[in-house]
Symmetry: C2
Amino acid sequence: MTSTPPLMPEHPALTTDTSMLTRRFGKEVINYFAGSRLNRYSFLRSDAPFLQKAATSPAARFVALDNLSPLVVDKKKLALLSFDDVKSLIGEEPYRQSDADRIKGYDSTAGPSVLIVFLGTVDNEGDVEFESSEHGKAKGQPYFAIDVTAKGRQDVERWLKGQEAKGLWVATDTRSLTLHSEAAAMFAQARSILDWNSRNVFCAGCGNPNLSVEAGYKRICPPTDLKRSSSSSVELPDCPTRHGVSNICFPRTDPTMIAAVVSADGQRMLLGRQSRWPPYWHSTLAGFLEPGESVEEAVRREVWEEAGVKVGRVVVHSTQPWPYPSSLMIGAIAQAVPGAGEEINLNDKELESAKWFTMEEVRTALAQNTGSMMAPPPKEYKDGDLRVPPPQAIANRLMTAVVEGYLTGNAKI
Amino acid sequence: MTSTPPLMPEHPALTTDTSMLTRRFGKEVINYFAGSRLNRYSFLRSDAPFLQKAATSPAARFVALDNLSPLVVDKKKLALLSFDDVKSLIGEEPYRQSDADRIKGYDSTAGPSVLIVFLGTVDNEGDVEFESSEHGKAKGQPYFAIDVTAKGRQDVERWLKGQEAKGLWVATDTRSLTLHSEAAAMFAQARSILDWNSRNVFCAGCGNPNLSVEAGYKRICPPTDLKRSSSSSVELPDCPTRHGVSNICFPRTDPTMIAAVVSADGQRMLLGRQSRWPPYWHSTLAGFLEPGESVEEAVRREVWEEAGVKVGRVVVHSTQPWPYPSSLMIGAIAQAVPGAGEEINLNDKELESAKWFTMEEVRTALAQNTGSMMAPPPKEYKDGDLRVPPPQAIANRLMTAVVEGYLTGNAKI
C-alpha cells in the first residue's frame, strides 16, 4: 500500500506551453478535480486478458470507496492498495471471463460481487507495459477503483475492519477533504463511475435488473437469465436498449453552467446567495443545463430566472468535473446588457438574494478566503464584508479571472 | 394552425452587442438548434392552474411529434397547432390535476395518455400574459409539444390521419430537414424531452414504472398504486430515488466534445473520417465526455485515442444542443504540441483515417459546401478534394472560425 503521488500542478502538455491559443486567450486554468494524468485507455475496457494482466500485476494500484467515500491514509491521502491487499475481495482472476461470457452466463440469483472500475494508467513509473489483445502495448502503471460498500456482506465488512487495523480510514466528509490535484481527479473519476453503477441497477427501458460490463463503463440488459440452472437459460422479454446504441447504457454526466456575470460597464460582478449559507457568503450563479439548449442559452436562462438580469455575450472560461454525483461544471464569464438589463429580480425565488459587487469587494473577498464555508474568516475580515468560495470551486477561479482582467486581456491588476 | 414564425438570426440580447467580451473574443456564434427565443419559465412547470390557462388559451401553440419526427406544413415548416386542433387528444382540461394529485392517484393499470411538454413562451406577440400562482405574470405566447406516437392507440391514429387530410405531414427524415433557426431550436427541445420520457419509463433505481411530472421535465417513482381501486391504494416498495434529490429523475443531457485541432505552427488542421462517409468527406474529431473529466481533458483524451495527436491548450468556442437524442456539443479549438505530438496514430481504430490539411484546403472545402453528405458537390469541385459538413454542424463553424483567424484574433483572411 502506497500513498498518493506528489502534487502535479498542471497537465504535462501545458507546462511549457507558448501556443498561439495561449498567447491570445491566456494560460489554461486547470480546475480542482481536473488534474488527471490517467490515460483512460477507453478502448481497452472490453479486453479481459489485458485487464487481467494489469489488475494482477505488482504495479497495479486500487482505490477503494465505501458508500462513495474513499479509503485514506494519514487522514488525507488517497490510499493506493496493491492487488495483494484486495484479492480476498475481487478474487485471483477478476477478469477471468470476457464480457460476452458474463452476459451469456448472467444469473439474476447469483450473489453480488465487488464492482471493479478500470481508471487507466499513469506513465511516470518507469517501463511498466502491458500487451493488449488488439491495440499493441499500453504504457504506464494501472489504476483501478473498487466499491467496498458492504451492504450486509460479511467478507467486505471484515476486509474494512482489517484496513482500519492497518491505519486506513474511510473519509466520510469528502467535501472538506483537500487532496492533491492528481488524487482529487482520480477520486472524482472513481466516485462518479461507482455512483452511476450503484444508482442504475435496473434498466430504465424495461425495468429488469442489468449488468455492469466494459470495466464499469456500461450497463446492459442481458437477453437471457440462467436462474440457478447451470446449463439452460431463460429468455428475457425484449428491451428497447437491445436495439442499436442506447445512451442510457452509458454513464451519465450532467452539464451545469456556472457564470461570473459582469455589469455592462465591466465595473461590478453579480453574485447570489442561498439562505442556508453562512452570513455574507455569495457565489456565482449556477444551474443544470436542459436538453435542447446551448451553454450560452442556459446561462441567459438561469441568470434571468434566478436574478432577473439579462445577459448578452457569454464566453466559456474553463470546465471542471464535479463528482457529487457526476456534474460537469461549465464555467462562463458573461456580460449583462446595459440599462434595465441589470435590474435584479428574483424570478424563480430560488436565491435568498442577488447583488452587484464592486471589483474591489470581490478582490478583497478572494484575498481573505480561508477555505470551506465552515472555516472562520481571517483576522483582517470585517463583519459585513463579502465572503466567497475557495479555489477548489470553479466559482473562485471565474471571479479571479475577472478581477485579473479577463474582459480586456490586460495584465493582472 | 399557423406556420413557424420568420427566421430570427440571433438572440435579441446580442443584435447590437458591443460588450467588452465581444470586443475581446469576437461576436458570439449561435449554432443551429441554439436559436431559441422561448422563455422556458422552468419555475412554472409545477403550476397546474397556470399551465391550464396557458394550454387552453387561443394564443397557445402545439408542436406534435410522431415517433420523434415533427408534424410539418409545406413539407418543411414546423406545424404550429392550436388548442382546438389538439383537444381531442389531450382533453378539455389537460392540467386539471396538480402533480401531487396525479402522484396520489397513480394507477399502473390506467391506459396511456398523450404526453404534453411545456416548452415556454415567446414574447413577440403583443400583450399575451398569464397569471401564475406564486410568481406574478408570465409574458408571451405559450408553446407546448405533444407526443402523438400512436403505439396502437386508435384515437391517435385517427387524429394523425385527420392532420394528413389537412396537408400536414410527418417529416421522418428529420436530419435532412432544414428549419428556420427558431423552429429548429423548438424542435430540438421538444424532441430531446419527449425522447427522454419515452426511453425512461421504468425507474432505474427500483425497476418499477414511473410517472412524468413537472410538465414533462421530471419522472418520479410513485410511492403508491391504486391498481384499479377507486379509493385505497397499495404501498409500493421503497425506492432510493424517493430519498433526497436524485439526478436520474431529471432529463439527461450528454456532453460531447468536438474540436478543431490546429498544428503547433497554426498552419494545418487535423480532421478525421469514418469509413461509412462519402469519399473525401472529413470532419473535426468528437466524442462523449466521461464522468470525472473536464472538457479540456476529454479533448486531449479523444484526440489522442482517435488520432494519436497530443493536444496542449484547449479553448471552448461555442456550444450546440444536438437532439439525437440529447447531446450537448461543446465546440473547442485546440492546438497540438510541437514535434512528435503531431504524429498520427489511430490508437482506438475508430476512424478510417485522420490527416493534417492545410488551411487553404479547409477554406476551399468550406466554400464548396453544398449541404448534407447526400448532396452532390458543386461543379467546381475537383475529385479528391476535401469535403466537410454543412453550416448546421458545429464542426463547420469551428473550421470557419479557425480559417478566419481565431488563433490570432486578426481580422478575416
